[in-house]
Amino acid sequence: MFAITAVAILVVMALALARAFLGPTLYDRILAVNNFGTKTVLLLAVMGFLSGRPEFLDIAIVYVLINFISVIGILRFFEYAGKKTAEEEA
């Protein structure tokens, strides 16, 4: 039961990675990385149950928050340089 969920999450992570590589604009890549991060959290939780070790859930809690902060950090960084990269790609 957990194995099937873990495989499904891995497939979705592959899809998110595909969007990260394909993504034309900068913000598609940030979105794909954010989606990948939240799927990692789910995979951690499921693997915690699969291997019968509850410590994984602590890592998952930290990873949710770190993922959020990293997305906000990336957006803040590109907010000012954003005008240049957006124009280059358009």
Binding site: M1, F2, I4, T5, A8, I9, V11, V12, L15, A16, A18, R19, L22, G23, P24, T25, Y27, D28, I30, L31, A32, N34, N35, T38, K39, V41, L42, A45, V46, F49, P54, L57, D58, A60, I61, V64, L65, N67, F68, V71, I72, L75, F78, E79, G82, K83, A86, E87, E89, A90
Partner: protein, 114 residues
């Protein structure tokens, strides 16, 4: 009773992974960034919620349950806030959403991207 819990968590886990999968497909197939962010973050919150609730049924009344509730709470709050911040930053940097019927350029489908 245990069989019932297993069945419920089984259904929730499969439904959650199905919704996560639809989010992943939507992330790939939608033409424009703003439709992709809609696809990704919407199903992301739902899929994660269902999977975590399915895990909660498996966890039972222990220390694991509050941790799972915390994960669900944080992923619900941060997911939506992050996608809002992304959409705002994208709009601010000049990325216009694709208006109906104006599909010209294939570069993310945002024609007036200057």
């Amino acid at each position: 009773m245990a069989i019932l819990i297993d069945i419920i968590s089984w259904i929730l886990l499969l439904a959650g992974s199905f919704f996560c999968f639809t989010g992943g497909v939507g992330l790939l197939r939608f033409p424009d960034f703003f439709s992709r962010i809609h696809a990704a973050s919407l199903t992301d919150t739902l899929g994660a919620g269902l999977i975590l609730i399915g895990l909660m049924f498996q966890a039972g009344w222990g220390l694991v349950l509050p941790k799972l509730i915390l994960i669900l709470l944080f992923s619900a709050i941060t997911g939506t806030t992050a996608s809002h911040a992304m959409a705002k930053a994208a709009l601010k940097s000049g990325l216009q959403p694709q208006v109906v019927g104006s599909v010209k350029s294939e570069s993310g489908g945002a024609p007036s991207n200057s």
